[in-house]
Amino acid sequence: MITMDKVLSISNLNIKLHTNCGTIHAVRGINLDIAKGEIHGIVGESGCGKTVSAKAILRLHNDLFTNYSGEIKYDSKSDILKMTNKELMNLRGKYISLIFQDPVQSLNPLLKIGGQITETIRAHSKLNSREAYIKAVSLMEDLGIHPAEERFNQFPFELSGGMLQRVMIAAAISSNPRLLVADEPTTALDVTMQAKILDLFKEIRGKTGMSILFITHNFGVVAEICDRVSVMYAGKIVESGNVKDIFRRPAHPYTKALIESIPKAKQTGKRMIAIPGSPPELSCEIKGCAFAPRCEYAEEKCFSESPREYKISDSHINLCHLKK
């Protein structure tokens, strides 16, 4: 993997969210580098901090109720966590874009979809409304929204979920951002639509060389489109590496268990494998390895000491006491 050009590099990121039910330490020191042109997957179960980290990349959390520490460097230069509001506004949508899980909820129900795409174009360029219209229509054509000119004047409720997700993608990539953060973009869609949208992501990457951070809880999706993958558990990245390495030689017990619990087409008459127990509460401090209570290989050390990262190979990093 080429690690020369880092579009984004996150180091030792900690996020604490202050909520009505106390402080939640949602992200506990993650390190993540995204190279130019790669599709990087983040996998993990619900509530492990995937979405919190994704939003932190654009600093979308309410600053009043959120504590950040660590660094999120864009283009190895400026730290997003230290940006002013104006710099952030310039960054969002122009250099880094975010796509949300539910396309029906993420478009303004009262504005025409075309307007929502041209709005983004015009917010980040000096095009006039006619030029923005032409650009939006050609973008919609490229993304398979047909007939684009007719769709341009429709409202979100007139389109299907898959179409709306294409509209969201159109708005997100309209200014050719360097990085596209996709937060479970296919979860709300049915399986055929999911495959089409995944193809679309690959196509976009191929055409523009955009990096994509792809957040999902579905290992199948990761296998299909990602180059590298990071597995998250309880606010930490427990294993990260090339997709092939992770699938062939998973090192962390959690990754192993996750891959084993993917339903297989040939497996009949057997119970599906599941990981026992449930993930820890992120509002309390976790002693030792967060996965230890559910881990079948856990030793005494796992319950008392936090594991350290070690490198299996240059690109394969594991966070576990059991080195083998």
Partner: protein, 280 residues
Amino acid sequence: MRRKLILKLKNQPLLAPSISIPFLILAIFVTGAIFAPFLATHDPNRLDLANTLLMPSRDHLLGTDNEGRDIFSRLLFGFRPTLLGAIGVVGLASIVGVFLGMVCGYFEGLIDTIVMRLWDINLAFPTLLLAFVFVACFGKSLMNVVFALGIIFMPLITRLTRSLVLTEKNKTYVEAARSLGYSHLRILFVHIFPNCIQTILVQVAISLANAILDLSALSFLGLGVQPPTADWAVMLQEGKASFLSSPVVVLAPGIAIILVIVSINILSDGLNTYQASGKE
């Protein structure tokens, strides 16, 4: 073909009786006020001391008052100051109130605390008492009363708008708009505002009815519209002495006030129901 049309009209929610009837009544009154100079049969302020307290007749459609002025003509002209005043009150209250509510709800923090505590103080006073204080300080006139009521009506609209913005700003589309790099003002006024406007409009309509009632009360007490200007409340005030001998003098403006206020209330209720049915 014709049956289809009737069916279509029947199912048209905007033609439901709770919307169409009060709308019709209001339309009649407002048209009357706008075209008063053409519709009036007499000069509303011309005294005719030879013909006081006449019963309704062909010449004087609703009779005359204790100074011989034509009641029908005064009724037409009498809605004008109240209507203009009420529009002024609601306009002032909603422009300032909606703006403050949107800013407070969206940005929260210090500005929110300051504005909301100020409005809490404002709400602690009874409505009319605060208007009295205002008039006592700045003098009796319609303008002053409109200004006073405008300030008194602001907190309600501010609070409503703020609560709407608070729920709206946590929706995904707002977050998506932020993630695409739109400015705060753009998100607030282009994206959030249209999603709140329906509910705000219902509150504005209710405020309009309240404003007419309060303005009338103040004019009746002699603080708002000053005689001899034709105004419903002034007419009530002047006619109350001759109520027993000639009830039309009081009944005409009294019923007019009731009709207008009840119509506005039913209309805003009907619009609320219509809006709720549209959301399902």
